[in-house]
């Protein structure tokens, strides 16, 4: 599942942009790779993140995955529901399983990310 109005990273994160706000999560491909997710740690509101900063961590039974912020900005909201329902990331990685929202500080960074078609192609190549 690769959605059209999303931007993607090679590390399998996504950003959905709405005006000056970006919502960030991990892709459906990433959640499948991780397996059953049992713990999610999100950043605190007001944290200032630079592109590439470690922003969140997601743990399945067997693995720990760091989530790096795909863009720079200030955290305006986090998905608190994931504290009790981390499995939401498995169920709806690109919807209700979102991780945090940023007020984007440099929208030109979006140009470095992949669109849906490019990400789909990247997945194909990665899976060989």
């Amino acid at each position: 599942m690769v959605l059209e109005d999303f931007y993607y990273t090679k590390e399998h994160e996504w950003v959905q942009v709405d005006g000056e706000t970006g919502t960030i999560g991990i892709t459906d491909h990433a959640q499948k790779q991780l397996g059953d997710i049992v713990f999610v740690e999100v950043p605190e509101v007001d944290t200032e993140l630079e592109k590439g900063d470690e922003a969140a961590s997601i743990e399945s039974v067997k693995a720990v995955a760091d989530v790096f912020s795909p863009v720079s900005g200030t955290v305006t909201a986090v998905n608190e529901a994931l504290e009790d329902e981390p499995e939401m990331v498995n169920k709806e990685a690109q919807g209700a399983g979102w991780l945090f929202r940023l007020r984007l500080s440099n929208k030109s960074e979006l140009n470095d990310l992949m669109n849906a078609a490019a990400y789909a192609k990247y997945l194909e190549e990665e899976e060989g």
Partner: protein, 364 residues
């Protein structure tokens, strides 16, 4: 990489495969959480053909197994099994194992896959002066573990009434499609269940038939990930993590299988001395009080910002208990239930509490 006779079956079932000590093994099929719960509530099927099997026969077989292991083999009746450990002269652990008594002087030993060669070399090196014949028969056996409260029904259909009559930690013989099998009421999950040792040639047939028979009971094929979380909830040690060549049998909490009054065995002197003088550290179970999952290798502190006193030997989310649990060695004075400790989880320090183990115990 080494493959079990069931390798194709795993791939056809869509298992995620991993390299486990040189073996290409299934880590999970449908998902570790549902596989774990299936074993606790219904039944699960595991391929554990990578495990090693040795036979010990000869006039001195009993004396020899007494010498190389710490449990009291003379107490075993025929067709009875016990858990034990091969010990080093330092009282530390070569490997943990199951000892099956097949006859007065005939034993079947089941050892960890990663230690097969090490163990066989070790016992061979300790056998001079004993009239015994040691054989590594690991390649002659595949092993299926059928685990969970419904397991007995499947094994009964496969092998007959012998399954129902067998008590926990006893074994018997059966045949499947004319091939001889060893049926053992044992497991590494903390549930009732069986481990079936069979010739590799019938492993696929037995695997498929078990899944078919188990379908009405909700059977799931289960991978090594569920095997690990199941054993941790039941506080069964994993060699290489919780116990190894640096931990003594007593420190590792295996005192219940260490019979210091049985006579001499390798390491007995040191272990007796350690018991008399008291332990300096021991393996304990903890539960996370703060948010966070402790994992193997994470540092353990007695106070935030202090010096690490050790590392987490096993740690995970516990799928049935829905808690984050782990094992670590603590100085004996800090090993009391209720003691607060701290786990370094990447950049943070999270509080945990020493708790009673096993974390999970089945209702009998």
């Amino acid at each position: 990489m080494k493959k079990t006779p069931l390798n194709e079956e795993h791939r056809n079932l869509g298992a995620k495969m991993v390299d486990f000590g040189g073996w290409d093994m299934p880590v999970q099929y449908s998902g570790v959480l549902e596989e774990h719960i299936a074993v606790r509530k219904k039944v699960g099927l595991f391929d554990v053909s990578h495990m090693g099997e040795f036979t010990v026969k000869g006039p001195d077989a009993l004396a020899f197994v007494q010498h190389v292991t710490c449990n009291d083999v003379s107490k075993l009746a025929y067709k009875q099994i016990h858990y034990s450990a091969f010990t080093y002269p330092e009282g530390t652990i070569v490997d943990d194992l199951l000892v099956y008594r097949q006859d007065e002087n005939e034993f079947f030993l089941v050892v960890n896959a990663a230690n097969i060669d090490k163990d066989f070399d070790w016992i061979t090196s300790q056998s001079s002066g004993f009239d015994v014949e040691l054989k590594n028969v690991s390649d002659s056996y595949a092993q299926l573990a059928i685990q969970g409260p419904e397991a007995v029904k499947i094994v009964e259909t496969l092998f007959g009434k012998v399954a129902v009559e067998m008590h926990y930690y006893w074994f018997d013989y059966g045949t499947y499609e004319g091939s001889p099998c060893i049926l053992s009421r044992t497991g590494y999950t903390g549930e009732d269940g069986f481990e079936v040792y069979c010739p590799p040639s019938i492993a696929v047939a037995l695997w498929r038939r078990s899944l078919e028979l188990g379908r009405p009971y909700g059977i799931l094929p289960c991978g090594l990930a569920a095997r690990d979380t199941l054993r941790l909830e039941s506080k069964m040690c994993l060699y290489g993590n919780d116990i190894d060549q640096t931990t003594t049998v007593l420190e590792g909490g295996l005192g219940w299988v260490c019979k210091l009054d049985k006579g001499d065995f390798i390491g007995a002197d040191i272990l007796r001395q350690q018991k008399e003088e008291g332990l300096e550290r021991k393996l304990i179970g903890f539960e996370m009080a703060d948010r966070g999952i402790a994992r193997h290798g994470y540092p353990v502190y007695l106070e935030p910002g202090g010096e690490a006193v050790g590392t987490v030997t096993s740690g995970s989310f516990a799928p049935f208990l829905e808690k984050n649990i782990g094992l670590t060695y603590l100085p004996i004075e800090k090993a009391k239930i209720g003691t607060e400790i701290y786990i370094g989880i990447r950049k943070k320090t999270a509080k945990a509490v020493v708790v009673k183990t096993p974390f999970y115990k089945r209702q009998k």
